[in-house]
């Protein structure tokens, strides 16, 4: 299941809902992305705004969730991604994967979050003490996604 929303989410409630009544799940991996202030590396962050491409975002998230379910034997999966303005400490993204075996849950969770960081159509604008700017893509994130050998649709 995927959701793209402006509102915050409750990780515990999301996990409970995903697992409700399921007795074959042995492990649930989850990742929560949080707005981070990084005062050691630049001016203090006041807020950030995530812009997205409505429609395309949902399609891409559905496609990558499907791919995770093809690669790993999962019982359930969930991606919740927020857009809009958020402050340091706010939750941005939630990935939950449930599987009979822990390895499938852990690996697919990592796969999905690596993908989301590089390939999902979101753009981050930061508001700092020094003003506003669009965040540049980081080569490090591309390396993390590339290790999964996901064929990019962009040439």
């Amino acid at each position: 299941m995927i959701r793209v929303q402006g509102a915050d989410f409750e990780p515990g409630a999301e996990i409970d809902r995903l697992l409700d009544g399921n007795t074959v799940v042995g492990g649930v991996a989850s990742f929560i992305g949080v707005v981070r202030d990084d005062p050691e590396n630049g001016p203090a962050l006041r807020a950030m705004t995530l812009e997205h491409y409505p429609g395309m975002t949902e399609r891409m998230l559905e496609a990558i969730e499907q791919e995770a379910n093809q690669r790993w034997d999962l019982c359930a999966s969930l991606i919740v991604h927020r857009y809009g303005r958020m402050a340091p400490g706010d939750r941005i993204v939630l990935v939950v994967t449930a599987a009979r075996h822990r390895q499938a849950a852990l690996e697919s969770c990592q796969f999905l979050i690596d993908w989301l960081k590089t390939k999902a159509p979101f753009w981050k604008r930061e508001e700092t003490e020094d003003g506003e700017h669009w965040v540049q893509a980081q080569a490090r994130d591309d390396v993390a996604a590339a290790k999964w050998k996901v064929e990019p649709s962009v040439s």
Partner: protein, 83 residues
């Protein structure tokens, strides 16, 4: 064609969305980008560094060689920085 802009591409063009009618000679995403760049000083600025731009046609990631046709939704945006 509907053309959508995101992030700093939108900031530079000055609009999030516009309806355009390029000439028949515009048959690919790359040719559309070149033609858009001639439409205003703002468009020229937005498409100056075409190499860093990404594009989608009808909400699918595509290369600049991808064909475009009347009725398509074409988007231009910088590399993703989400999540």
């Amino acid at each position: 064609m509907e053309v959508l802009y995101f992030a700093w591409v939108r900031d530079r063009v000055g609009t999030a969305r516009e309806h355009v009618n390029p000439p028949n000679t515009v048959t690919t995403v790359g040719e559309l980008a070149q033609w858009l760049a001639t439409q205003s000083r703002e468009h020229a600025e937005a498409f100056r560094d075409c190499d860093v731009l990404r594009a989608a046609v009808n909400q699918e990631h595509v290369s600049f060689a991808h064909p475009v046709a009347t009725g398509d939704e074409i988007a231009f945006f910088p590399p993703m920085t989400g999540g």
